[in-house]
């Protein structure tokens, strides 16, 4: 008992767990997957593309978490509701042709040409709406909390979640709402592997978002944000406008959430091309990805998202026969189990900055 109640035990965990994990789990899994690849390459390719699709959706949402965390040092629990709010806006704009809760028509639908042109323009409109929503939320609820305990801010985002969820439920009538995505559930075939266009769209969207963030980090404002994430007071002393960094982070976070929400309405997350209020769960499914990658690392968000997404899909595909043993709905917990193992090995995720602690 005394052995367990000592720090040596924990240090032992740190050195032995990675090794045990490699030998016991990772190597058999890789061997199994290689066998599956040889056995049925088409199915493997299909599963792989599906996992990339889910992974990039997770990565988009995870990136939103990371940006908000970098600026305000808090996890935004309203991310899922923001995703649904943005996607609902798009749904009303393209399916009903008006702005939600008003009778103002969506002018973009009058633009001629192929139907995908107004759709993409409307996505832009929805993203601007999301940015505006992020700004408003930041100004009203987050800005007054500068310097307050972090968990108070986290609970404020929980309050926001409650509010936004109700508005989402009411606008959508708690029902499915189509987003009229141009490629729908269509796809193409490579050999026997069926690949949805939405997987490709997800990968493209995630790539664009990460490139944008890469350049943003190198811009003046991006450097300011990184400074704020290291030390708010020191950044203020250097003349950085912390409030503006907050605002930008929330706007960007809401935009990324909306992108994730739009991707989350399509395969592999949903087959209907529709969004409904339960879609907000996508944020909780993406949380392990954020944590595994490291709360303050954009690269971590990308890799974490892909890792969690592929674990979920590959386990769903190749362990389906075990469902009666390991319980139905196991894809829901696998990300959390992976996250738990990951954190025991690296407490700040794969790329997270360890907190510097002073005595």
């Amino acid at each position: 008992m005394t052995a367990i109640l000592s720090n040596d035990f924990v240090k032992g965990l740190r050195s032995n767990v990675p090794l045990a994990f490699m030998v016991g789990v990772l190597i058999p899994t890789v061997i199994f997957l290689v066998m599956q690849l040889i056995n049925n390459p088409d199915l493997f390719l299909q599963t792989f593309m599906k996992s990339l699709g889910l992974g990039s959706t997770y990565a988009l949402i995870a990136l939103g978490f990371v940006l908000i965390f970098k600026a305000t040092q808090t996890v935004n629990f309203a991310q899922g509701s923001l995703a649904v709010a943005g996607a609902l806006f798009l749904s009303f704009a393209v399916a009903d042709g008006h702005i939600p809760l008003t009778t103002i028509e969506n002018p973009l639908l009058r633009i001629g040409g192929p139907s995908w042109i107004p759709w993409f323009l409307s996505v832009g409109l929805a993203l601007s709406f999301a940015a505006l929503l992020g700004l408003v939320i930041e100004r009203l609820a987050i800005r007054p909390m500068i310097g307050q305990p972090l968990f108070s801010v986290a609970v404020i985002t929980l309050g926001l979640e409650t509010m936004l969820r109700t508005f989402n439920n009411d606008t959508s009538e708690t029902e499915l709402r189509s987003l009229r995505v141009p490629w729908g559930v269509q796809g193409f075939k490579i050999g026997d592997a069926f690949i949805n266009w939405s997987y490709v769209a997800g990968i493209v969207a995630a790539t664009v978002a990460f490139i944008a963030v890469y350049f943003f980090y190198r811009s003046r404002l991006g450097i300011a944000m990184r400074a704020v994430s290291l030390d708010q007071e020191a950044a203020m002393a250097q003349g950085i406008n912390v409030g503006r960094v907050f605002a930008i982070a929330w706007a960007a976070g809401a935009v990324l959430a909306t992108l994730g929400g739009i991707m989350g309405s399509q395969p592999p997350v949903k087959q209907t091309g529709s969004i409904d209020p339960t879609s907000a769960n996508i944020a909780f499914r993406a949380l392990p990805a954020v944590i595994l990658g490291g709360l303050d690392s954009a690269v971590g968000a990308l890799l974490g998202g892909l890792l969690i997404g592929s674990t979920e899909i590959f386990a769903g595909q190749y362990a389906a026969g075990l469902a009666s043993t390991i319980g139905p709905g196991y894809p829901l917990v696998i990300p959390y189990v992976v996250m738990l193992i990951g954190l025991v090995i690296r407490p700040y995720g794969m790329f997270g900055t360890p907190e510097i602690r002073r005595v």
Partner: protein, 475 residues
């Protein structure tokens, strides 16, 4: 500034508490007005039928203004006075079933508005008391305590009790309080003696599973079946019914997904197993979103079976989504009551005229049929109780036990008399999904719009007809 903040916070707290106390004052005084007139009279209820003859004619006339004259002779206890009858609704208005329950409750309000405009029941206006349970058992019980109390919100009967575990958690109290309740849940257990005051209407999930699988097997010449369901009282009741039918018809169950569809999870394992099973037909008791997800995912991997599902597994909104063509060709819908606009029965005309007159802007939804059926049960039971001269809570329950409720073709007529085996309804409405019938913007003013086309209004499979009642999935 600091003091201003403090003041704001204190004021907020006090405003709320003061408001709550204020309302209690109102409650307190009204409670005295409506205090039970005579509890002793309740014991004479066996003698009461003396008044029934005088009121027998009423059964034919839906409006009962004449009843005013003998109103004084009706026994009452809680929730009924000379002017009003209070009916309670335990509805989920903000929880996960709000999408279904909000329009149902709206339709019920419309139903009672019209009833009141036509003179009410036994000369009394019906007052609806709607409480939001948020699909949460403790909240459901707390609101039940409000409705069952003898305070201002004490009711004569409960017109909706949403959810199975929720209704199960109050069923003993219902018997103790002698309250009548209609469950918004079609589990096969509600006909048992244990749930004697829970008055279920419509075909239960289990029988629907039997009818659905039998119909699909006959129509598509199937030899293998796959079953998908949510875990719990709803999904597994349907899955067990489907298995009973498969056994009776000699179908092989190639994928048994009873309880395997978990909401919120990725459905890849279910899809993979389903595709691998290559079943001819699939029976689903899930919700619309998840059925679509599995159906679309399986189709993308080349699965070609025919699908069937019961009530909540389909929503016309799916026809606005990308898998609409698949539903059109591969899906058959089974539900306990007529879909709105279908069947051409007298009841359907009444539903449409009700909605057109009182809620002309509402969408074209089948749930208004549910509202109408619930309202009709409340009306016919209350009228029977008034005719018996006993509108006490127990009197209403007794009246329900001996009345046959005329559903005017929207579903088989209801009777709660006799053994459970005689009460259970064994026929289902079967629909085909047709995109031609779908119109996203349809309102109740239209005639079609929900994409359903009636195939059979009284389909009873041999399995269902032979079934000796016994709850499939006991609550």
């Amino acid at each position: 500034m600091k003091q201003f903040r403090l003041l704001m916070a204190v004021l907020l707290a006090f405003a709320l508490i003061a408001a709550a106390c204020g309302s209690d004052d109102d409650g307190g005084t009204t409670a005295q007005d409506t205090s039970p007139p005579d509890t002793e009279a309740m014991e004479d209820e066996d003698d009461a039928p003396a008044t029934t003859e005088a009121m027998d004619d009423e059964d034919d006339a839906p409006t009962t203004t004449e009843a005013m004259d003998d109103g004084g002779e009706i026994l009452t206890d809680i929730g009924v006075d000379d002017e009003t009858i209070k009916v309670g609704f335990l509805s989920d208005l903000t929880g996960i079933f709000a999408g279904l329950t909000v329009p149902i409750t709206d339709g019920s309000e419309a139903y009672f508005e019209r009833l009141n405009d036509n003179g009410g029941i036994a000369g009394r206006q019906v007052e609806t008391i709607v409480l939001d349970t948020g699909y949460d058992v403790p909240t459901h019980q707390q609101h039940y305590d409000t409705l069952s109390s003898d305070g201002a919100d004490g009711v004569a009967m409960i017109g909706t009790s949403t959810g199975s575990p929720h209704t199960a958690s109050i069923r003993e109290d219902l018997v103790d309080d002698g309250l009548f309740a209609i469950p918004l849940s079609w589990n096969s257990s509600w006909a048992t003696a244990e749930s004697s005051n829970v008055f279920e209407w419509g075909t239960n999930y289990c029988v629907e599973g039997m009818n659905g699988v039998s119909y699909l097997a006959e129509t598509f010449d199937a030899t293998t079946v796959a079953i998908l369901s949510f875990p719990g009282d709803y999904g597994e009741d349907g899955a067990l019914g489907a298995k009973l039918a498969a056994e009776a018809l000699g179908l092989e169950v190639v994928y048994d997904g009873q309880g395997q569809v978990i909401p919120g999870s990725d459905q890849t394992p279910v899809i993979t197993s389903l595709v691998a099973s290559e079943a001819d037909i699939v029976w689903a008791t899930t919700n619309a979103g998840l059925m679509a997800e599995i159906m679309g995912g399986a189709a993308a991997q080349g699965f070609e079976g025919q699908w069937g599902g019961n009530g909540p597994s389909f929503s016309p909104l799916l026809l606005d989504s990308d898998i609409a063509p698949l539903l059109d060709t591969n899906y058959t819908h089974v539900q306990p009551y007529a879909a709105i606009g279908s069947g051409g029965s007298a009841g359907m005309d009444d539903v449409l005229s009700l909605m057109r007159e009182y809620r002309a802007d509402n969408q074209f939804l089948s749930v208004y049929v549910v509202s109408w059926i619930q309202g009709e049960i409340v009306r016919q039971v209350l009228e029977a109780a008034a005719a018996n001269g006993d509108m006490t809570r127990q009197g209403i329950v007794n009246a329900a036990l001996e009345t046959t409720i005329d559903m005017q073709g929207l579903m088989p007529d209801l009777s709660y008399a006799g053994e459970p085996n005689d009460q259970v309804i064994r026929s289902s409405f079967i629909f085909d999904v047709t995109l031609d019938n779908y119109n996203a913007d349809a309102t109740v003013l239209d005639d079609v719009g929900d994409g359903l086309e009636l195939i059979d209004g009284a389909y009873t499979s041999q399995t269902a007809a032979d079934w000796d009642y016994n709850p499939c999935f006991a609550i």
